[in-house]
């Protein structure tokens, strides 16, 4: 087993991986940018080094600095988390060269599945259906125009590298194609360092259904069933659940088999996710492989009863999978909501800034994977994901209600977040019925605004007024009192060690 692991990430996933290391008894080393000294993942780690300035390209995405940190701290393995360098095959190759174990697939498999185009070809060859799309790629506007016409509008502009909706755009008519390609390429370049773009047929009202897969170096491979991630905004998943309300036992088995074919065809090892679109008629199409631990991995952990991150580490260390396909089953239902620092009432504008007061929900079946803390700050430099709230219940409705109540006890004051919006998604009649598709948010929630009745408003105003009466009440009692520096914004960042 590894003697020390470097976690080449930040935020909630870095915290998650640090926990896994701790539980395995392996020291966890963190890296951080100059903007992240006060981040939670740094405080949680056993060791930590600064790898550069705030911009990710100069810190978390800088391969030399990350590898340098691993060597400086004597780490024999690197867990890349998701995003940043997680699916960068050059990084994986560099690790292989430096004799540092990259906790993920081999660089060759990463390169293959990382290119959506090469992956399409490989997957088609083993008989797994793919979405009709352009056969090659290019940077020439005329070529895209021709291909789009051949595929038929609407088409989807996608980045060959990366994921998470970055560099992805739906184009309805030819006139919008060129700016969409240009914007997608720019975004992809910024996010993944690669501006390769291609086109795909846009499937109407599909569900996003993905299969968690796991393969070891002994030749064993299993799938850990599906996650449905249809609730998306700008192609970014915001609510995920498992099991999918849309799968029958037969379809689940068939898609699981297809996912394993993809694993085999690509020589994939360690944890990965095979993404499919499922159309309303039950046809599924391979989308891509996410060659990393996913943001939404906790719902699989809760329903299948495994620890995916610990398993990643064990498998990377050369151990065989600790479970076989026959050991695995789904029990109950789990839902995840992603808590973003975004303002859902204003087009989901990012809402960086200080978290004046926060309290995380609790209770049976509730799990919070968080990268932030009350009194901390959401940085403008990185993804707006703050935390993930996961609810498990014996059945879908029990999980859904738990999620709804948990969102109702998740105050995050000072910045706008998606909490109130998510609560309304979870309570939407169509969501309750499981009638979800990737256009759900645009179709059902486009004009969302927070609502509250007059009685609740009166209660809130009373709370505000009572809050303001406080210091006076104390002063009247003859006691020396001031508002705490930690209760007001602006001077909260007073560190004696700066």
């Amino acid at each position: 087993m590894f003697s020390k692991i470097l976690i080449a990430n930040r935020g909630e996933i870095a915290a998650r991986i640090i926990r896994a290391c701790r539980e395995l008894g392996i020291p966890a080393a963190a890296i951080y940018s100059e903007a992240d000294r006060a981040s939670l993942h740094v405080a949680m780690a056993d060791e930590a080094v600064c790898v550069g300035p705030a911009p990710a390209l100069e810190s978390y995405l800088d391969i030399d600095k990350v590898v340098g940190a691993a060597k400086e701290l004597g780490c024999c393995a690197i867990h890349p988390g998701y995003g940043f360098l997680a699916e960068n095959h050059l990084f994986a190759r560099r690790c292989e060269k430096e004799d540092i174990t990259f906790i993920g697939p081999p660089s060759d498999a990463l390169e293959l599945v990382g290119s959506k185009l090469a992956a399409r070809a490989a997957v088609t060859a083993v008989g797994v259906p793919v979405i009709p799309g352009m056969s090659g790629h290019g940077k020439d506007a005329a070529h895209f125009k021709k291909e789009a016409k051949a595929i038929g509008y609407p088409v989807l502009v996608k980045a060959a590298a990366g994921g998470g909706g970055k560099g992805m755009r739906v184009v309805e008519t030819e006139k919008d194609l060129a700016p969409a390609v240009e914007g997608a390429a720019r975004e992809a370049k910024g996010a993944f360092g690669d501006d390769t773009i291609y086109l795909e047929k846009c499937i109407v009202r599909p569900r996003h259904v993905e299969f968690q897969v796991f393969a070891d170096f002994q030749g064993n491979a299993v799938h850990l069933f599906e996650r449905e991630c249809s609730i998306q905004r700008r192609h970014q998943k915001i609510v995920e659940e498992t099991p999918s309300p849309a799968l029958t036992t037969e379809l689940r088995a068939e898609m699981g088999e297809a996912a394993l074919k993809v694993v085999e065809a690509s020589g994939y090892k360690n944890a990965g996710t095979v993404e499919f679109l499922l159309d309303p008629d039950g046809n599924y199409y391979f989308l891509e492989v996410n060659a990393r631990i996913q943001v939404e991995h906790p719902i699989t952990e809760m329903v299948v009863g495994v620890d995916l991150v610990a398993e990643q580490i064990r498998v990377a260390a050369g151990e065989p999978l600790s479970f076989e396909q026959g050991d695995l089953s789904q029990r109950g239902h789990a839902i995840e909501c992603r808590i973003y620092a975004e303002d859902p009432a204003s087009g989901f504008l990012p809402a960086a800034g200080p978290i004046l007061l926060m309290e995380e929900p609790q209770g049976p079946g509730i799990r919070v994977d968080s990268g932030v803390y009350s009194g901390g700050e959401v940085s403008v430099h990185y993804d707006p994901i703050m935390a993930k709230l996961i609810a498990w219940g014996p059945d879908r409705e029990a999980a859904r209600r738990r999620m709804s109540k948990a969102l109702g006890e998740y105050p995050i004051l000072g910045i706008e977040t998606t909490v109130g919006f998510l609560k309304d998604v979870i309570e939407h009649p169509e969501f309750i019925d499981g009638n979800t598709h990737t256009g759900f948010i645009d179709e059902q929630m486009a004009d969302w605004r927070p609502t509250a009745d007059d009685e609740l408003l009166a209660t809130a105003l009373t709370a505000a007024a009572l809050y303001e009466t406080e210091p006076k009440a104390v002063a009247a009692a003859g006691k020396e009192v001031m508002s705490s520096p930690w209760e007001t914004v602006g001077n909260w960042e007073i560190g004696s060690g700066r």
Binding site: K166, G347, L413, A460, A465, S484
Partner: protein, 169 residues
């Protein structure tokens, strides 16, 4: 004691009067008795009649943030700068539309030039923050009067990037 806040653009007043056990509250015609216990910094157990509420309050950005029963409220304090809720976006003053950055970030591109004619809905600037691009559009037809930023500039929330002179009529 009266407390007045701005909420969703309108003024709201709540009156507290000492009662035998706690307060008599009057707010927009709603009356009730309330008691309050502090559960920690910014945390209260507020009881309105027999109905308890677990409320969370924080002060910052010239506003009071209140969370109760799953809802977050932002109350602007009287006379406070509206850094909190009154997000900039686009405002027309004297026939000039000021297109401003809706959040701190980096200008990716200004897609118009001075004196250029624009139509409502047209993208005039692209700003990136937290790894996502955001397109800023004009809400009016008109002519670009001034461009105040360029690609690569770091901009603050509410910083005006482009001014557009609205067309008559």
């Amino acid at each position: 004691m009266d407390f007045t806040y701005e909420y969703n653009g309108a003024e709201r007043t709540v009156s507290l009067e000492k009662a035998t056990a706690g307060w008599k509250v009057t707010c927009d015609g709603i009356e009730f008795e309330a008691t309050s216990e502090k559960l920690g910094p910014g945390r209260f157990s507020l009881m309105a009649g027999v109905n308890p509420y677990r409320v969370f309050v924080a002060e910052g950005n010239g506003a009071l943030y209140v969370f109760v029963a799953g809802h977050q409220f932002v109350f602007i304090e009287r006379g406070a700068a509206t850094g909190a809720a009154g997000a900039a976006g686009a405002a027309i003053v004297d026939g000039i539309l000021s297109v401003a950055a809706p959040m701190p970030g980096e200008v990716v591109k200004i897609t118009v030039q001075e004196a250029q004619e624009v139509s409502a809905g047209e993208v005039v600037a692209i700003v990136e923050a937290m790894k996502m691009e955001h397109e800023l559009t004009t809400t009016v037809n008109g002519v670009v009067k001034a461009v105040h930023a360029g690609a690569g500039d770091q901009v603050d929330n509410a910083q005006v990037l482009v001014e557009i002179e609205a067309a008559e009529g």
